[in-house]
Symmetry: C2
Subunit: 473 residues, 2 copies
Amino acid sequence: MTNLYGIDARSGERLEPAVPETTPGEVAERCAAADRAAPALAALPLDTRARLLRTVAAELDAAADELIASADRETALGRPALEAELARTTHQLRLLADEVLRPDFLQRRTEQGADGTPSFLRTLLPVGPVAVYAASNFPFALAVAGSDTAAALAAGCAVVVKAHPGHPLTSQRVDRVVTGALRAAGAPDGTFSVVHGMAAGQALINDPHIRAASFTGSQAGGRALFDAAASRPDPIPFYGELGSVNPVFLTRAAVSARRSEIVSGFVTAATRYVGQLCTSPGLMFVPADAGLDETLAAELSAVPAAPLLNQRILDGFRQGTQRLAKAADPLVATTDGPHLFRTTIQEFLAHPELMEECFGPASVLVAYEDEADLLAAAGRLPGSLTATLHAEPSDAAVVGQLLPLLTRKVGRVVWNGWPTGVAVNRTMHHGGPWPATTSAAFTSIGTESVRRFQVPVTFQDFPGDLLPTPLNA
Amino acid sequence: MTNLYGIDARSGERLEPAVPETTPGEVAERCAAADRAAPALAALPLDTRARLLRTVAAELDAAADELIASADRETALGRPALEAELARTTHQLRLLADEVLRPDFLQRRTEQGADGTPSFLRTLLPVGPVAVYAASNFPFALAVAGSDTAAALAAGCAVVVKAHPGHPLTSQRVDRVVTGALRAAGAPDGTFSVVHGMAAGQALINDPHIRAASFTGSQAGGRALFDAAASRPDPIPFYGELGSVNPVFLTRAAVSARRSEIVSGFVTAATRYVGQLCTSPGLMFVPADAGLDETLAAELSAVPAAPLLNQRILDGFRQGTQRLAKAADPLVATTDGPHLFRTTIQEFLAHPELMEECFGPASVLVAYEDEADLLAAAGRLPGSLTATLHAEPSDAAVVGQLLPLLTRKVGRVVWNGWPTGVAVNRTMHHGGPWPATTSAAFTSIGTESVRRFQVPVTFQDFPGDLLPTPLNA
């Protein structure tokens, strides 16, 4: 048996106890158990389903001290950030519990037949057992009990989570809390389990019982799993949130009107979570004559370096900043800390590698001359989770030209704000075209995330009392 | 330049004029034109978008005589069926025009920020240019101006249709009607085009401008295109409707209560459109002691053979019936006409090839002893578009056990009716798990089919008057 170990993210020290990797045989057992649980779970009344989510939230809150201490050790994100993240995690679960109880949750729609034509009831049902691949950067909110798990349970699906190797001990602790809470709230055995290790993750995506998978992580890792899901004998949907440069566009008028606010807003956004956010602004188009470079460089240089999540992310950050340094001029290059690069629009258009995400606190400033430059760049950008416009009412013409380009490239457009800080609500779309995600039609955050794990079924001429629970309610 | 030819489906005679295959270079031009049209098309007011659909419907109606004569020659489906199909085609277009004008069409949802938090508007926008692969069996309703084209135009997307080689002349005629109608109604150039030939179809799925694709056809053809879509550098969604055995379950009580109605209903459903329907009942579970086999065989034998759509489908039908004959006993085996096979539940479970669709007028009867047999079979069935239950109120217990199995396997469950005759309405789900479709979350028929071609975008703190048309309306 192979073991995984948690690593102290500040000291690099190996933590005990070891976490055993899940064998492919054990993965098959968990998936079979999830499949056996599926019909009973789907048939729970909706208020019981909501109670499962609320009980998980309550038990996570009750275990907060132990969980936060563990996550801080394994990620170095710090107690305040982790407290906020755990609060977001339990908020997600409770928000989805509320959503389950909304009258339109199952999108029931009926059509009465006339003149001998059939009657129909169309509704949403759980897709079946779901595989969730946890992220490194949010050990609670995008991990074992994170938004994907909450969405799958809200849909009525059993879940098998592949834990992230960056925080195996925290994952184990959250696993125990969730498993206990679900049992206490009346979920069938097999509703939830966690697997560890690379081989387990590969077995999971290929397991015949798994009907959908979700993932937040790197483009390379996500693509490998997407390819595995798509090349199964029975392809399954793979909802991956992969990577994003999150372009920001500054007009001259915006810089004139709000220079210092923009500078401090950018520096805060670019270094939040040590730059380890999917929505971190990796690219900013600035007027060439605005004289912003030096100010931005000075403020960014003043931000102290902080430990990254783990050695793999640090290695990736070093490679990413080296890649950017080959094509753009470094303005700030703190060792293993904040980086800022500068280039021109012509160089930018000639170097597609500047359009790729560098995960961590690194951004590229692109100096533009006129609005035609902005439109040319916007037309060439890859898919992103977000785009941000800083502009003034006098910029209406260029905004009107940019928006149709940007709405084809991103899932969220931010006006005079910053893309970091994803609101968990009923209006969030956290998605976007490839490579931001593998599936632009769905969000991984917010209540609509549940739609990934529901499938429509139409009942034709069915007697109401013979419909399955909870449809016969 | 290579040419395609229409074939007279009754005589096998080659029809003039030749239809030139579209070269890969021409496909690239059409896709680039669709991409250039996309922003202007997306920005049309919704009532203009609805008018495009209505104008196409009106012009198709106006050309009915010419179109039906052409389609009858190329498919041998007969004038009455083709008249009904053209009516369904224009109904689809008008129903989607109505849908575009419904207040909830864009699923706008807003959330007002409080205490300095942002405000959000979430809505659906067109995904971008769409590739549509036409089907052979519905030369109007699932072809050049069929439900996929209607859904894409309703979503605000430009469309490039790959015509089916089974009816190239009809496709060309419909192309001319649609192109003229769209131009007259004010659609931008490049909104719509049709390409011909296998090489064009392959170029189309790989074109970088195409953002989504849809298909109705064979499992082999659909899988090849799905694989191409998934292995692009930027994978795109591929909505394929591939094949389905559409199991029917007869309880003893149902046979006792409605024997002759069930027999004639089955024979009508199995031979409708010469069995060339995606929803044709290919499999029926019958009580072993009901003595239905001989009655069904006698009624089916009385149905005269009719020409299949084309030589390729006839070849496939011959291979399919040979495959079934190896594993089941033939009850009816009309040369190139209706076929009926019989087997036991044990043989059925031991021969997965009996669970595969044989496109054309062929069905398999599976004799079962008790309800445990039905549950065992339902648990092993592949994904289908439909499942049908013939049962009585006294069967509530077995229905309660079957339904949770069936709703995980099919997109539509029919009670005491037949699966053929897909209603085009707001409650239809024409979909199901693989191999029925490549994407169980979406329907290819009915108003919800438009969701395949819309993507959500969230606007954060955006001034209403700067939103793009039609959102600023």
